[in-house]
Amino acid sequence: MSNITYIEAISKGLREEMQRDESVFCLGEDIGAYGGAFKVTKGFIEEFGEERVIDTILAEAAIVGVSIGAALMGLRPVAEMQFADFISNGWNQLVNMGAKTHYRWGAAVPMVIRLPSGGGLHAGPFHSQNPEAWFFHVPGLKLVAPSTPYDAKGLIKSAVRDNNPVLYFEHKYLYRHVKGEVPDDDYTIPIGKGEIKRAGKDITLITYGSMVQFSLEAAENLTELGVEVEVLDLRSLLPFDKEMILASVRKTNRAMIVHEATLTGGIGGEISACITQDAFEYLDAPVKRVASIDTPVPYSPPLETYFMPNTEKITSALTELAEY
């Protein structure tokens, strides 16, 4: 066990996978000697050499495409986007080639794309996006979004070992803001399985990534009202753990979804629709959603604070839901 940050956990998990399996390699902009914009791959080039830690040209379509080609030949590339936002340049490669290949002709594409995402750091419209919902509508991809150092290590390992293109959303705010106990041994977290972060009988709060911590704080706030909120951390977004959600909602009869991505078209809509569809008779109140407002991510602190969910906003939405 070590007490390490979220970013250290990613780094550790990835390093262990590279040690375990020769077919794993990393590529991306400035990931070699520089160790990556956030230093996730710091020391990797020294340990694994230039052939397995590749500084690429500045070209995300190429990075994604090259990863697909290498994956088709049996390697397991782990590509870093310098910021999640830049995956937009590799969009076509990913959704048309990466995601559809196995369905079309049965060839597996075992690759990972690491996506440093999210706001809260005043990094403006192009270094703060949470683009997961776009990919959520792309059959053939898998999406994971760890919220703790423990999950970060376990999920990067599962992502690397999965035989499909996995998008690994790592939240920049969490990088150095959360620390936790992480086993030094090998372990994985199954893709598709969520976790009950806090048990409760009154409201089910479904969330992931950066919003888990705020949601847990808000859940604590609700105890003052005698309301016990069950907080579910999805961990995987595609596929997501529908059984866990439904079981909880059938118990609590109230549900709320929280995500940092903008509201309209966010994955909260899908989850709400699934709950209404499959647990309608159990619902005592409308399914609520808390998300960022429908705008680009603004830069200036008061604007960004207004834009994003936080503990306060989640608390007041929970209060409304409890009082419904």
Binding site: A62, R104, G106, A107
Partner: protein, 340 residues
Amino acid sequence: MAESTAAKKNITNRKPKVLKRKLSKKQLTELYYYMILNRALDDRISSLYKQGKFHGGAFVSRGQEATSVGSAYALEKGDVIGPMIRNSGAVLVRGVPPHEFLANYLGKKTGPTHGKDGNSHFGDLKRNIFAPVSMLGVLIPVCAGAALAFRIKKEPNVALTWIGDGGASIGDFHEGLNFAAVMKLPFVLILENNGYAYSTPTSKQSLVEDFVVRAQGYGIPGEIVDGNDVLAVYDVTKRAVERARKGEGPTLIEAKTFRMKGHAEHDDASYVPKKTIDYWQKRDPIANYEKYLLKEKVLAKKDLAEIQSTVAKEIDAAQTFAEESPLPLAEEAEQGVYAS
């Protein structure tokens, strides 16, 4: 134009050269066989399309058989190819039987995609063939990725793909070729300059007549070849592949050829001037190769006829197989999104 002149200094003259390497009779015959097979398959595809037997569109490569066959023939078994819609000839050279094409066109369970995709949109990993997607250019970075895998795995193989004069305008061309260049990957890109991208003439796609000039911008060798001369194509590809295998990095080859039919079977290509067609008709890659084979006494007329009739029978059998094959079951639509 200045750039054209400058360019020509660095590129092989496009006149077909005397073959630099001696091919055996068997090899010369195989090249002929595959070109005939390519054309016969295409002709069958056209006629099935006209009979309304297909569900979607149909794409053939009449006039471009030498480019596909000659280049694929220069590869070894372990090499990867990423064929585009005009490269059925290359896929045939790799050993995919014609019935797989027809079964795929007919959406049959026995086709390589089991009905999931159509026409020649299929791959075959055991033959190291990557399936194209419609989005042009995608295979350039992807095949560069295969080349990277070879290097990482220390396998002495090469990856080769093709692109059109139209597809060469897509950003992936630039990103993929530069990626391969900078990393000196064992990669070969063949640009088939066939005069048109759908209805758009090459002059509206590029100010430079010779796309191969772009190789200079990536610091890699560029070669122009007569795409209708199968031996020249074989030869230039072989040299590029050998360079790649030796670790000397990628080559861009521009094959000058012509798309003798419309973009797809529904397109009558009425926008192509008749004199352009006549010009290229005289340069038909198969007719020219036949002349060569006869002149050099590699094969006699009756040998050619025999190959043609073997191929015709193969295509008939392929059609029978494809037509008699079952369609997939509806529920199979749900299967295969994810690898396990």
